[in-house]
């Protein structure tokens, strides 16, 4: 007797862990602790798991907001910073890349691919046709979708059902399984008919509003959910601690929640100090750190002395307490942890905060 239930094939919404989107309620913001960020870099992350993609910097900002739909605590606020005229191959988006290990059961790229349903709350100062797309890691399979903002500055609930794609390559590894992208603007060559799969890189529906072309325009998103099946179920609330844990496969920090990495908060959040200088008072101090959980891959590592200076450690001996601004470098690293080495005189130990990222 087989007891296992394939959620995707059952099409059932009455299961836990049905939401493939992590931090869909926008409650986790480890990098910026609620501060507004002008987005300058393509591929940069703001709220946990949510990424900005763009061809020109400083056209919009992103901030965790407390203006939200009923039943939620937070949203993501996007603000257009200019009346930008799109040209060339311009395109702007805000997206989540879902890891292939969390989408393999959809069986996309083959016969029997499961349908999915995207649901979310959105509020905008603009009205009209907005949209986005679902795409694969190679961005050569796209499903543009559209939704309508009926009333300005009012949260509206949207649902979009997407047929499973039976073509293309959809990773089922620790790479990008699929991308859910909201389009903030795209030239016509990066738009296509909504509601159908197409071979190519299409960011939004034909004729959709270019959000970045209206200075001061705002959009709020929360309650984003992507689930198998053809019906949108109520948003799957996740305990805060579990949601943060899910995020920490991709981003971890020692800083207390609500404190941005690089802040000067002394030892708050550091759980100890180890390491020892070499014989005769000169040599290497080395401190290793084990991550809270194994990360998606070996992460990019930022460490800070307790005053918040990057690539520095704090050195402490019995004779001298807490000397900051000691240069360090990463000695070893893996998906499980890393070690920082520094050259320093005297018997003692080093301390540091860290931010590590293994995003898609």
């Amino acid at each position: 007797m087989t007891l296992a239930v394939n959620i995707a094939q059952s099409g059932s919404n009455n299961v836990t862990f049905r939401n493939r989107i992590i931090n869909g309620a926008m409650v986790i913001d480890q990098r910026n602790a609620g501060a507004s960020v002008t987005v300058t870099s393509d591929g940069s992350y703001q709220l946990d798991r949510w990424q900005s993609v763009l061809t020109a910097g400083s056209k919009f900002s992103i901030q965790q907001s407390t203006t939200t739909a009923t039943g939620f605590k937070n949203s993501t606020l996007l603000t257009s910073l200019s009346a930008y005229s799109l040209t060339g191959s311009d395109r702007f988006g805000w997206q989540q890349q879902v890891e292939g290990l969390n989408t393999y059961d959809l069986s996309w790229g083959a016969a029997g691919a499961s349908a999915v349903t995207l649901s979310f709350w959105v509020r905008s100062s603009l009205t009209g046709t907005m949209g986005g797309c679902v795409t694969n890691s190679a961005q050569n399979r796209s499903y543009p979708f559209s939704f309508t903002i009926n009333s300005a500055n009012t949260f509206e609930y949207k649902t979009i059902t997407i047929a499973g794609d039976t073509s293309g390559t959809w990773l089922t590894t620790n790479g990008t399984g699929l991308v859910v992208r909201f389009c903030l603007g795209a030239v016509s060559s990066y738009r296509n008919t909504a509601g159908a799969w197409a071979a190519g890189d299409y960011w939004g529906p034909t004729g959709g509003v270019d959000f970045v072309s209206t200075n001061g325009a705002t959009m709020y998103f929360t309650g984003v959910q992507l689930e198998a099946g053809t019906t949108a179920s109520p948003f799957e609330y996740c305990p805060f601690g579990l949601e943060k844990y899910l995020c920490e496969r991709y981003c971890q920090t020692t800083y207390p929640y609500g404190t941005a990495p690089g802040s000067n908060i002394s030892f708050n959040g550091i759980i100890g100090r180890t390491g020892c200088a070499g014989v005769n008072g000169t040599g290497e101090i080395y401190q290793s750190t084990q991550f809270k959980q194994q990360m998606r891959t070996t992460p990019t590592i930022s460490f800070y002395d307790v005053a918040g200076t990057a690539a520095k450690v704090t050195f402490t001996t019995y004779a001298v307490q807490d000397t900051n601004n000691i240069s360090g470098t990463v000695g070893q690293s893996s998906a499980n942890g890393f070690g920082v080495t520094a050259n320093q005189s005297g018997y003692g130990g080093s301390s540091y905060h860290y931010l590590v990222t293994a995003e898609l």
Partner: protein
Amino acid sequence: MYKLVNPHWSAPEQRHVQRLTDNAFIPFVEDNTDYQAYLRWLEAGNTPEPAEENQ
């Protein structure tokens, strides 16, 4: 924009490069997206700063 980092004596097979915009250390690991960005930067004809001699 990047600076090479000398491997640590205990793990000479592990390599990292430092991104100078934020001083983060990027491992030479294929599925790290920052490393992929570094490779694209190299392919564009750029050259990283050499590692410090005293590291």
